[in-house]
Amino acid sequence: MKSLIDRYLDRVLIYANKPDSEAEALRQELKDHLLQKVDDLITDGVPREEATLEALRQHGSPKMIGYKLRDPFPWIDVRSHGTARGVIAIGPRAVGIFACGGVAIGVVAFGGAAVGLFSAGGLAVGLLAAWAGLGLGGIVNAGLAVGIVATGGLAIGLVALGGLAIGAWVPSFWSGGEVHRYYTPENVPPFLKSLEPLLNGCTYFDRHVFTFFLPMYLLVIFSLGYVRYREMRRVSVEDDWLIDG
């Protein structure tokens, strides 16, 4: 049967997620620390069992230490708790080039709340593009869309198109829904007219959302969710550590 110290170190290494060669050296280093601590406490008159528990308590939470031992910005960082940071980051909070999480911040961000150059999610802020229930950004396609170019159920933007479209300019070819526009076709500034082609992308998006974009989005979300689920399974092995809080 494994000792308490070994069980503790197993937990640290699960969270640290290091290759085997590094993990072994790390285990040896931490174990030396803990055994030395136990020896010193015993010398001070503490019974062995209490000394072991006290050494582990003073060493700190395996989760905290393990996560801190991870590389600062790896290719893939998947976490069951806290903030994942990596080129591909998946976790409750995620920061990365591709970020997926409850709250995601990245160049490409997916999540309940997503912020990025390109973002998609329940609430998405995309500096260039956003696709969301509620979206804000440059080019936005959303239930409620607010952006420079906005399309959606309710679209508010410099150029807007939607069930209810409120904008400085709503293209004259748009005949669906209710329209509130500031400029008329006669006095619309050329730069607003020049934004119109961007709407083609949005309307293309709208037309193909159920045939292509939505399945792809769901595929990405489920794939990332599965990776996260596997990570949660990995860290929640049967040996739940008693001071893992």
Partner: protein
Amino acid sequence: MKLSKKTLDGNMDTLLLAVLSDGPSYGYQMVQDLNAKAPGVLKTGEGTIYPVLHRLEERELIQSTWRAGETGRQRRYYRITAKGKKALADNRLQWAALQKVMTTVLGDRSTPGSFQPTTRHGVFS
């Protein structure tokens, strides 16, 4: 006065470099040294020094070697490198400058208990 985790996190590498500037050491001994000089500084856990040590080693500010300790167990010893000494010297200068600025701006009020409330016209009475 308790130091916040945030304050400590940003300065743990300087503390560890300072400990290693006294000579090669290993994790447990460094913890003992730190606790002797500043009790409670590792309140969040003694194990938290290892991520810092490993990052310092990645940045080549310290080097490590394995050799048998007095218990016979293999032990990882760290020593500061020339680059680490330079970084420590820079950090010391930064700290001295920051301390001077803070003392100048905060004055005596930075010391708990010495704060004396004043009005626009002088000492509050």
